[in-house]
Symmetry: C2
Subunit: 337 residues, 2 copies
């Protein structure tokens, strides 16, 4: 049996393509004393990874050309030369895109397989759920009766943002890229309104109509024209959480457009960027809240799970064409133990 590895073949210019990835075979690594052998079960693909594929200075270090891509992975300990990690333990960590990984255990977290499906730890109870939680509650600070707009609303983060906002008694308006997603938001997740931006001639007008009392909180996953349409409807003292700017991730030059500063001034509005790790000290409390809401049926969670290690690049590329609803994952293997 051979190991499987996906490395960064070249840095994408603009939208990434299959040619930027290369599959490599290797032997399954032999363990040294203190090491464990992990087998990947679920691999997370996320928009932020596009940033790491460039060599521009960013908040995360770039991937190296010729080295494996890395990201959130749920894996099982299938062999162990380390008494702290038993065979059969399930872990989550930032790991390379490899079927088998030799590891010393540092930075890994154990998962309790009883509290939720294993894949949930890459989504609602993991990075996307925590991102939604902190951006909405710490920056957006929504009050009952206020209007909350979320872009990328059908995505892994956006779908949680909208539901937490509903929990908090807000009017919630989502922006997404298909009629199917719009139906999902309104009928499944209880959004008050949802706009299909690809099918809307005048997004600014559509936003104003969907938000007759203006916008108090905007949770931004996308940037660009969708954000501009929200800016026009901001209320005095509005709060904007800048979580993602996917409309620019593939840009090869500096994004330009409408200046938001004069609007922030007029409206005494607040805008704050963040990354989930800013709130690392509070992950425990947040995960507890999220797990409770899921258990009580107050938070619905949807995944799109691709099957097979060889389909990881395709699942990643699909993020930029809007193919996924909810969290996009790839299932690589079943548990062995």
């Amino acid at each position: 049996m051979k190991n499987k590895i996906i490395v960064l073949a070249s840095r994408p210019k603009g939208t990434p393509a299959s040619e930027n990835f290369r599959f490599e075979d290797a032997d399954i690594p032999a363990l040294e004393e203190g090491q464990i052998l992990l087998k990947s079960l679920y691999v997370s693909v996320d928009p932020y990874m596009r940033g790491r594929m460039s060599d521009a200075k960013s908040y995360v270090t770039p991937y190296e050309v010729g080295k494996p891509i890395a990201g959130g992975i749920v894996a099982e300990v299938v062999d162990s030369c380390n008494s702290q990690w038993e065979k059969g333990t399930v872990v989550i960590g930032n790991l390379p895109w490899q079927l088998y990984i030799a590891h010393n255990g540092e930075g890994l977290n154990k998962i309790d397989p009883e509290i939720a499906p294993l894949s949930y730890h890459l989504g609602i109870l993991g990075m996307p759920g925590l991102t939604a939680y902190f951006g909405l509650l710490h920056i957006g600070d929504p009050k009952p009766g206020e209007t909350v707009v979320v872009s990328g609303a059908a995505g892994a983060v956006g779908s949680v943002v909208g539901q937490i906002a509903k929990l908090k008694g807000c009017r919630v308006v989502g922006v997404a890229g298909s009629d199917e997603k719009v139906s999902y938001l309104k009928e499944e997740l209880g959004f008050d309104e949802a706009i299909n931006y690809k099918d809307t001639a005048n997004i600014k007008e559509a936003m104003a109509q969907a938000c007759p009392d203006g916008v108090d909180v905007y949770f931004d996953n996308v940037g660009g024209e969708i954000s501009d349409s929200v800016y026009w409807s901001l209320n005095k003292f509005a709060r904007i959480a800048v979580c993602g700017q996917i409309s620019y991730y593939n840009a090869t030059s500096l994004p330009t457009g409408m200046r938001v500063e004069p609007i922030l001034l007029k409206k005494s509005a607040l805008m704050k960027g963040f990354i989930v790790s800013d709130y690392a000290e509070e992950f425990g409390t947040a995960a507890k809240d999220l797990a409770a809401w899921v258990k009580e049926g107050k938070l619905q969670y949807q995944e799109t799970i691709e099957e097979g290690f060889e389909n990881i690049p395709q699942a990643f590329l699909g993020l930029f064409t809007g193919e996924n609803t909810g969290k996009q994952l790839v299932k690589v293997a079943d548990r062995e133990v």
Copy 2:
């Protein structure tokens, strides 16, 4: 003796000009019971007034064409049919550009002429001083050793921002529009560095050099390219107080340019617009702090005082060509009583 009035003759397109103002004569108003007669002593001219000269929706209501311009004025009660207001009382309020004004006293605040020169109440102890205080301390929240950049640094607000930042133990860098202003900032006000943006070929590079440890707090009075140059040097968790955007006030179309959102995201930075009235409940505390700092010689304050009612429009127009250093005022009359 006649009254003198300045009305808005027409709405400016782009930069305001003399033709947008018209002088009118009128009789000195006769008082009704409950009214007082005010004589203007000092008239404040401020960049925000440009916004009120347009009819675009803003945070302040537009001036009406054919009606007097209005703004901050220090005036003396020279006649009274209201027992609450004695002749000789000095007041401050939002008042029309008239030599004599009949008023019922509502919204006026009495001034103690002993604690500071009368004109100071239109500056360091008034709107500009309070604006500097709240924007820097409440939004910027500067910590000792941090780097604070202020644009429009030699203006009424900027010069106070920089001095308070020095008081708080920060490294302070100012941006202004002449060598004279740069000298004033560094030699008189104790700024660590100052940049003459009109004489700097590469402002982005100059900013990076002036802020070797990056920028933690940016107090923005101007917007545009100067702001862009600061954005490139922002540190993680930077705070930006958007106080003014004078580079856009004369724009006839929506300002476009570099998008700040991706930078806020990368740096987990905060940007907040404000107007001093957002903090009205805390004016008392702030004025006490400011007065104490002035008395202790920790806050220097500079005014440019034009003389004569007929020079009010010219003094206002000079704001947009960068002629003033410190707070621009017009002295209209001496106290009578």
